[in-house]
Symmetry: C3
Amino acid sequence: MKVPMTKLTVVSESLLREELLTLMRDAGATGFTVTTADGEGSRGVRATEWEGPNIRIETILSAELAEQILTQVAERYFDDYAVIAWLTEITVWRGKKFGA
Amino acid sequence: MKVPMTKLTVVSESLLREELLTLMRDAGATGFTVTTADGEGSRGVRATEWEGPNIRIETILSAELAEQILTQVAERYFDDYAVIAWLTEITVWRGKKFGA
Amino acid sequence: MKVPMTKLTVVSESLLREELLTLMRDAGATGFTVTTADGEGSRGVRATEWEGPNIRIETILSAELAEQILTQVAERYFDDYAVIAWLTEITVWRGKKFGA
């Protein structure tokens, strides 16, 4: 059965990897895909931070939990770190991986 | 001309790469983007499998074909493998790459 | 505050990396995430080009700017290069990174 879910994507400096994963786990996220990415400049982002290797964390959540974690990430990191985050509406095949 | 299409994303253990690509090709998918990813735990996924390098396969399809392949992937792999799959509605510029 | 934005994704041969980033910057894009990807065949794409390492560029834009850049990329590259591009509607947390 296909059901709508929300994907949270966070692109950040590598040094925040464990901190971000811990924040997400503490909020209730249970599975992550992590890839390596490079960033290239952004208005309001310090260039020296953004130029190194970045990580991209993705996790699939309920809409409510995704918005909650997005807000936490924004409030905790956006002012001081090169962090970008967004939500995408997706469709998953409901299996045991995403709860009942 | 911009038209709506569906992107199917499958994140899986690397060992399923060829099998998944074959399943998708047989179903009618014709182009793929494959990236390397790391997974980090998921409810209902065996940790030992999920911790190694994963692959992320993306392919752009009609909504019907995307749902059909998602269903096949779910039915064939979700119970026994660390496989996650989802659909995203996207907009492409209609060119020869996506048929008439 | 959460607001809708559009993500433009371009997957291309590596050799077009700087050219594509320049096109996007000139059009008004200001931040990019670049990852390495592999492609695997596509109807209408020359196999020899598509088999090498590819890059995947993502940038978050207003809907208008995203469509404008997508059109430019399509018109300039789709006939002669192994370039795929698509738009995804996303939700971002409005911060200084995406303007007022």
